[in-house]
């Protein structure tokens, strides 16, 4: 089975250089990638993740609003009885990493993350990987 990943932009943050690069990276690594496009709500991301039956959700947030938006996505997934693991990429200060992990985020990828690590982490999180 091929690993299926939803990459998502949530909120009003239009910075999509990172998410576009990551989507292409994961496709090049042989995964099936669904990209939500910009300006999604936490609820729509959760709904798409469940409908598309993905193995992992990757959120890209560069506006600094991660502490507000990420827990909302996790709540929305719980509302749908989903335990799909969520990873977050973006500019995330060290002190926020712990808060996100405590909230239930499976992994975070800050500036300088290696592409190999991102691929390996997502494959490890995927039950099909």
């Amino acid at each position: 089975m091929t690993t299926r990943v939803l990459v998502a932009k949530v909120g009003l943050d239009g910075h999509d250089r990172g998410v576009n690069v990551i989507a292409r990276l994961l496709r090049d690594a042989g995964m099936e990638v669904v990209y939500t496009g910009l300006f999604q709500t936490p609820e729509s991301v959760a709904r798409t993740a469940v409908d598309e039956d993905v193995d992992v959700v990757g959120l890209s947030i560069l506006s600094g609003a991660h502490l507000t938006l990420v827990p909302l996505v996790l709540d929305a997934l719980r509302e749908l009885d989903s335990s799909i693991p969520v990873v977050v990429g973006g500019i995330i200060p060290q002190e926020d990493v712990a808060a996100l992990r405590d909230a239930g985020v499976a992994a975070t990828f800050g500036p300088g993350s290696s592409m190999d690590d991102i691929v390996a982490t997502i494959e490890a999180l995927s039950p099909t990987g």
Partner: protein, 560 residues
């Protein structure tokens, strides 16, 4: 053959200019500038000419302006040190503006928060977590009044970095200034208002492209007729480059958008020479030093050539590409953030040696957050060191004539020219239609993403070194620079907006919005008067944008 006849043999594809007697012509033009009586020497006392070059070469201030748009360049006038700022509520940002002016900044530039940039009110559920975070929150004309309080709008030029809701924000700005006794004709500044690049790179769009272009048309027509000191359009490559494009793509897409707006204004019945002199540009100042200098030189040359030979502009001011530059946000690293001071200084120097009219220098902490007040001051001081200590301002186009820089300029010109021809062909001879078609089929985004991906792969493989990222890495990760922003901007803005909603005349809001809807239904009507009336009734940005969206719809990108 006369010079005129010689020039006419050229077309926009090849610059063919007679530079005979160019030094004499330059000398005559230079004598007419405020720089004529200046004398300059090196630090050690050797005399410096205002420009160097053979007698029959292109000189600054001469078509096609490869060497700069003014004969004396910075000897007659330094660039404007225009620092971009905005966070929290309007009073928060007003305080920062007044600090910048007090520290010797000569222009101000407003950064809006994400909800404002997308035409969403602060109390909209979609704005949660974003109010006042990446810029200042503006909901109504009351916020605009507080933003510019105690700043003389007739004396300082203001810049507004906003696009999809640009017409609404501009209407609030003009209405507020007039309500405070400053006539619109005295207002000087720039509205970014470049909606095409939003669909290509930055993605802060609201309406579909064609109705958005109608708003651009209305602001350009309004400013051209009534605001002689205003620049209603800043065609921006900055965001295209930040999204990952190459230097050639940055110039090509930006010039193509510029030509598209020229066609738009022509369709609206404006003569090209009535508004083209008011157009300005905004480019990135990235880390590849010589490529950036060559980029600005090539952009000026191509703009001049196409404007004269393809669009038939006769006024030389229509040929002259004026630009603002900002150092590259994407070149800043979150790792070892102190190194960013060096990057910003080098990038700023490239913009100055490339002939920028205006410059913003990023702060070293911006990979992490909006700049702290101290960091923003150091960034401004970096410009002041270049302007007043290095002596680079004394000689125009100091890299002109370098075999390397001239070759790089020509090479970029060929690459950019090929991309422009491709877009023109896509539009069957119309750059406006070419840009719209290339937005629709994802051509721009494919080019940009390919380049961004190639860059990222090169960094990952170590083929491109970034200090502190894949070379000279510290073992312990550096802590993020302290973010000195107050964290309660969100709550305070909600209170401000709630107060306006309680106190305003609801009937007047409803009536002016209904009038605006009526105006929007007729594509021939200019929306600016209706937008100003709604602004004065204290309608919010979100209410205005929703009214227009009811008529023209919203833009959604197709899943790709």
């Amino acid at each position: 053959m006369t010079a005129e006849a010689f020039d006419k043999r050229s077309d926009h594809r090849g610059v063919n200019v007679d530079h005979r007697n160019s030094r004499k012509k330059w000398q005559a033009a230079y004598e007419g500038t405020t720089a004529a009586s200046t004398r300059a020497t090196t630090q050690s006392g050797s005399p410096l000419e205002p420009v160097y070059g053979p007698d029959d070469a292109e000189f600054p201030g001469q078509f096609p302006y490869t060497r700069g748009i003014h004969p004396a360049m910075y000897r007659s006038r330094l660039w404007t040190m225009r620092m971009f700022a905005g966070f929290g509520t309007a009073p928060d940002t007003n305080e920062r503006f007044r600090e910048i002016i007090g520290a010797g900044g000569t222009g101000i530039s407003t950064a809006y928060d994400m909800p404002t940039l997308l035409g969403i009110d602060s109390d909209d559920v979609r704005a949660r977590g974003e109010v006042g975070r990446c810029g200042v929150a503006i909901d109504t004309i009351d916020d605009v009044a507080d933003l510019y309080a105690n700043i003389d709008l007739a004396a300082i030029t203001t810049s507004m970095t906003i696009n999809a809701p640009a017409a609404a924000i501009f209407a609030m700005f003009v209405a507020n200034a007039e309500d405070h006794g400053v006539d619109r004709a005295r207002l000087g500044g720039t509205l970014q208002n470049d909606i095409l690049k939003e669909y290509q790179a930055q993605h802060e769009y609201v309406f579909p492209p064609r109705p958005s272009l109608r708003l651009v048309r209305d602001t350009v027509v309004f400013a051209t007729r009534e605001m002689p000191r205003w620049h209603p359009l800043s065609v921006s490559g900055y965001h295209i480059r930040e999204a990952g494009s190459t230097a050639a793509q940055e110039v090509a897409f930006t010039l193509a958008n510029g030509f598209a707006y020229v066609e738009l204004a022509r369709r609206a019945g404006l003569a090209v020479d009535s508004y083209a002199p008011k157009m300005s540009f905004f480019f990135n100042a990235h880390i590849d030093f010589f490529e950036e200098v060559a980029k600005y030189r090539c952009a000026r040359r191509l703009w001049a050539t196409w404007m004269r030979d393809f669009y038939g502009a006769l006024d030389e001011r229509s040929w002259q590409l004026r630009f603002h530059a900002q150092t590259a946000g994407v070149s800043l690293t979150a790792q070892q953030p102190d190194n960013n001071h060096a990057r910003t200084a080098i990038e700023a120097l490239a913009a100055v040696l490339g002939g920028a009219q205006s410059l913003h220098t990023n702060s070293f902490d911006e990979a992490w957050s909006l700049p702290s007040s101290d960091a923003a001051r150091i960034a401004l001081r970096t410009q002041q060191v270049i302007a007043y200590e290095t002596n680079v301002t004394q000689v125009a186009d100091p890299l002109g004539g370098s075999w390397f820089v001239e070759s790089l300029t020509d090479q970029l010109q060929r690459e950019v020219g090929a991309l422009l021809e491709e877009l023109l062909e896509l539009g069957n001879g119309s750059m406006l239609e070419g840009c719209l078609a290339a937005i629709d089929n994802g051509w721009f985004e494919d080019h940009i993403t390919d380049a961004a991906y190639a860059h990222e792969r090169a960094v990952q493989r170590g083929e491109r070194l970034v200090v502190g990222v894949n070379a000279f890495v510290d073992d312990a990760p550096a802590p993020a620079p302290a973010n000195q922003m107050s964290g309660d901007g969100d709550a305070r803005q909600l209170e401000r907006l709630s107060k306006v909603r309680r106190e305003r005349d609801g009937d007047a809001v409803a009536r002016t919005l209904e009038d605006l809807r009526g105006d929007a239904l007729d594509p021939e009507v200019n929306l600016m008067p209706g937008l100003m009336a709604a602004s004065r009734a204290r309608a919010s940005v979100g209410e205005i944008m929703n009214t227009l969206a009811d008529v023209v719809g919203r833009y959604h990108v197709r899943a790709r």
